[in-house]
């Protein structure tokens, strides 16, 4: 029987963030990963924001295999036959250090795992955690690959479903309301072609979000990120929304229809799909967070529900890295005390409360309800499209005055409804 100080289940960003933080502490750390290599089971819709994590991992990301730094942000309201795009760019987003990078997780996670291993941390791939070991209510290890592995503390970084925290009684299987599915293709494309199509120079990148018709008005949207030599293109859609609608289109078909939209088709033309992937994403925000710790166990990253969609920014990877880091700091304190009880490990919650992680979740606790407002997902894209159509239309005869045209759509009833929506938005 092997005994470690810490067992980390899962070599994603939370697990590797924890392992990196523990490296050099003298603790014996074992990272378990069920994939053939770190990253083998990990996917992302797109990008990593650097500002929140730079100071937690000083210097680490300077040589990271990031894709492109995002200099073009776009959000497109998709109606049935038209779309309206808001494009945000300029010199500000080009300033050093860049705010965010597109990433491909296999490349990134393998690299980060390499950094962790170089610092002397042991990483065991191809090993699935099958169960947890308990002793008098305290978690004292895991069963993995048929072996019993003991540790003072287990950090569960086993992803959004976190079967480990379920087994530990820290959470129950999630409700469909609190999760979405992301479905994505990586489309290979020459970097020069990408630069031409997205108006980019050198290693600049573009990020585009699409809301409305792409999900047939259901919660979620489309996304497109430019990587160095590929595009990440996909859809996110609420699981409950599809489950509750017997007439909903099958997701693979919905993705194909998204690709055929005239706004998308020319952007991906000539590219070749090289990978197809999908994953569940936590969308429940603050109210859906599981218990973050128990006796002998800490939970980090998606496993704890730490992903946050506030409409324009959709984030998870920074929270994973940061929560991994704080979990590791908690372990270091607990080790000093020689005590891994719930009480001692509650330091983790305090560290997260004091950091951007739970401050963000607390500040944006109302957003899941707002961003799933069906009016934002079907009514407004159509409304804005209608306004655009009439503003831009030039008929054969005389053109109608603009104000009466606008009033046709912006009736008192509509304005009243918009005011109510605005009151909801003000909670964000």
């Amino acid at each position: 029987m092997d005994k470690f100080d810490v067992i980390i289940a899962g070599a994603g960003l939370a697990g590797l963030g924890a392992a990196y933080t523990l490296a050099g502490s003298g603790l014996e750390v074992l990272v378990l990963e069920r994939g053939d290599y770190p990253g083998a089971k990990n996917i992302t819709g797109g990008r990593l924001y650097m500002n929140p994590v730079r100071d937690l991992f000083p210097g680490l990301f300077e040589k990271a295999p990031l894709e492109r730094f995002i200099t073009h942000e776009g959000i497109t309201l998709m109606a049935k036959e038209r779309s309206v795009t808001l494009d945000y760019s300029g010199s500000e987003l080009r300033r050093e250090p860049p705010q965010s990078y597109s990433v491909l997780r296999v490349k990134f996670d393998r690299w980060l795992a390499g950094q962790v291993e170089e610092k002397g941390i042991m990483l065991l791939p191809k090993t699935r955690v099958e169960d947890i070991i308990r002793n008098n209510g305290q978690i004292t290890g895991v069963v993995a690959g048929g072996d019993e592995l003991r540790a003072d503390v287990v950090i569960a970084c086993d992803g959004v479903l976190s079967l480990i925290s379920e087994k530990a009684g820290l959470r129950s299987p999630g409700s469909a309301h609190d999760f979405a599915i992301g479905i994505k293709e990586v489309i290979s494309m020459d970097s020069g072609v990408i630069n031409d199509r997205f108006n980019l120079q050198g290693n600049e990148g573009a990020a585009r979000l699409f809301v409305g018709e792409v999900t047939r008005g259901k919660f979620g949207g489309g996304f497109l990120y430019t990587n160095r030599e590929s595009l990440s293109l996909g859809l996110v859609i609420g699981i409950h929304d599809v489950a509750g609608d017997k007439t909903a289109m099958k997701l693979p078909v919905l993705l194909e229809e998204f690709k055929e939209r005239p706004e998308i088709a020319p952007l991906i033309k000539g590219g070749s799909t090289v990978e197809y992937s999908a994953h569940v994403i936590p969308e429940g925000g603050f109210k859906a967070l599981g218990s973050l710790y128990g006796s002998g166990i800490l939970v980090a990253g998606d496993a704890a529900g730490l992903a946050l969609n506030i409409g324009f920014t959709v984030r998870g990877m920074e929270y994973a890295l940061a929560s991994g880091c704080y979990a590791a700091r908690t372990v270091l304190e607990a080790k000093k005390k020689g005590d891994f009880s719930t009480d001692t490990l509650s330091v983790y919650k305090r560290l997260l409360d004091e950091s951007f992680v739970l401050k963000d979740f607390s500040n944006f606790r109302k957003t899941p309800a707002v961003v799933s407002n069906p009016r934002f997902l079907s009514h407004y894209p159509e409304l804005v499209g209608n306004l655009m159509k009439d503003i831009y239309a030039v008929p054969a005869g005389p053109k109608e005055r603009i104000y009466p045209t606008l009033r046709k759509y912006l009736t008192l009833g509509e304005l009243w409804a918009e005011l109510k929506d605005l009151r909801e938005v003000m909670k964000i």
């Binding site: 994939g35 089971k41 992302t44 090289v274 992937s277």
Partner: protein, 95 residues
């Protein structure tokens, strides 16, 4: 028809290592349970279908990309759900 071909071709792009025992199973006598139906629409690999008896069928887990959606959508009362054993199943190359 073309839909199925497209999806098969897409899944053919991914690297899979054979899974020993199926890691997802419909629990015995649950085939007609309505909770399984959403999986037909949601599964990105199109692995769930309905037969002429109104039963939901999961004929194979080959092509499962381990997204976890069916576990969330249908629940563990109707699905026996686990990750495939270590070192098996989908192995992404880009992510």
């Amino acid at each position: 028809m073309s839909e199925k071909m497209d999806l098969k071709a897409k899944l053919g792009l991914d690297v899979f290592k054979p899974v020993g025992q199926p890691h997802i199973k419909i629990r015995p006598s649950m085939e007609k349970d309505s909770r399984l139906k959403p999986a037909i629409r949601l599964c990105p690999s199109g692995l769930y279908s309905e037969n002429e008896n109104g039963e939901v069928v999961l004929a194979t887990v080959d092509g499962c990309i381990e997204c976890g959606t069916c576990r969330i959508a249908c629940g563990t009362e109707v699905l026996e759900w686990n990750y495939p054993e270590g070192g098996t199943g989908v192995q992404f190359r880009f992510g």
